[in-house]
Assembly symmetry: C2
Homo-oligomer: 283 residues x 2
């Protein structure tokens, strides 16, 4: 299978490296940043650079681009994709991308499958890409009624070969709702956390919990602004929900209500334990 | 030096193990839970069990108890402590404990130093104690005008010998204000995070950020209820602050205001980077 990774950033670069390391597939690359292409060639993350017109010989195109760039790339290059070929994206939101990708590719005999590799780092760009980024991570696919079963088989098989721990499927809408909670809300909360005037007094007065809560505040604001605004309703629901939950704790503490506070904390512990058990069961 | 650890839970047990592993000091133990004492003896975390009346021969008493139990133990046993001896506690709040401890011990020739070892686990009890819990952790001391310099020297020297990366000092009030942000708020936010109805859909749809944000939701609700209510004002300030910050993000997303949202995220990234630089500089 001939593969081309378009966008050799953290995710695209890491996918290229993981495919090269774990399989015998041929991997090409395309990036407007020529330094990334040169680095990818030098590190043998790709076998060669392609021009978009050469995509006609590619079986699987992997788009490692931001949401708008993903949509634009499909719109602008639909005449170049191989008949019977496959395209996957790697965006953190799915409905906004999948709807447009499918409508643009309708009638072209090119299959699109929305994908979301559940891994990341608080760094970005090809320089931070690694061949083991996806080890033990989950690979989410959001097929629709238009997605041929063999495309799902081919892509999920590749994901497992390059180190993902497992593949899950969901509708694009379901994906976006859950991701608003598991990933987007985490970035909002972490970013809000560091806004306290107490922040710069923390050195020497913090341990694992502070580090954990604030790690992803170091985020790429361009990418996350786009992801958040493409998933407004589910994310607004989650932000409002945590504001409501925090207000419950705030009121219990303000009222010096030990029984209520203990109950809120106990509920939280039990939910976390249930969530851990649920995750283990799903594996 | 003869040391006695009172309360052989996660922190007390780990301190006993770390002292035994790294020094030649003699370590005794006291706990109302006889299983913990038997385990500590079997694992050689302590050299022997003491009764409270035998505290008269002990140079350094380490209280590994909850805040109220710490206060109660000092009140009930002040006639037993060695003249010229030292007592330290390990509570996560300091002003409420230090004020009472000092007033109870006034005129007894027993020195008290409030301490807070900045380490923990999402498990508790002697069974989870380990001899390396404090490796690379910070050891906070909250001396007052009543604390003899040699007590600070003895305790900080012991902390460094048993694996702490460094010691910092603060007034009890300063400690409580910063800890409300670095530790207490982290536990409140993590506990509030898991209250979303989306929680049980997360298996397969989450990565590091969800895990980090929710790790400490698995907390000991009895201990944290007490810690929160003994530090109400600083904690209420921090909870109100993060609710305000979250509301800013919520409004920007609701208003589809990309420039404002990007600015909020950029500020958060820059503050996190500043905080990392500040921590590195302080080391």
């Amino acid at each position: 299978m001939k593969i081309c990774v378009v966008g050799l950033g953290l995710i695209g670069g890491s996918l290229a490296k993981a495919i090269k390391k774990n399989t015998d597939e041929i991997v090409y690359g395309i990036d407007i940043n020529k330094t990334s292409v040169a680095s990818a060639l030098a590190q043998e993350a790709i076998d060669g650079e392609l021009t978009v017109s050469e995509l006609s010989g590619i079986d699987l195109v992997i788009l490692g681009l931001y949401p708008q760039a993903t949509i634009d790339f499909i719109k602008e290059n639909k005449q170049h994709f191989k008949k019977g070929g496959m395209i996957i994206d790697t965006c953190g939101i799915k409905k906004a991308v999948v709807d447009i990708a499918e409508s643009e590719l309708a009638g072209t005999d090119v299959s699109f499958l929305g994908c979301h590799p559940m891994a990341g780092r608080e760094f970005w760009g090809f320089a931070y890409s690694v061949d083991n980024l996806f080890d033990r991570a989950s690979f989410i696919m959001t097929p629709t009624e238009n997605t041929p079963a063999e495309v799902i088989d081919t892509v999920s098989s590749l994901a497992l070969r390059i180190g993902f721990a497992g593949c899950v499927t969901a509708s694009p809408q379901e994906h976006d709702e859950v991701i608003a909670f598991t990933s987007q809300l985490a970035h909002v909360v972490s970013s809000a956390y560091v806004k306290s005037p107490s922040l710069l007094k923390q050195a020497g007065f913090s341990a694992g919990s502070f580090k954990d809560l604030t790690r992803v505040a170091k985020l790429n604001e361009d990418m996350w602004t786009s992801l958040f605004l493409l998933n407004r309703e589910p994310l607004l629901f989650e932000i409002d929900h945590i504001i409501g939950a925090l207000t419950d704790y705030r009121d219990a503490i303000r009222d010096n209500d030990a029984a209520r506070l203990r109950e809120l904390l106990k509920e939280g512990r039990e939910l976390k334990e249930l969530s851990i058990a649920n995750t283990v069961k799903k594996r």
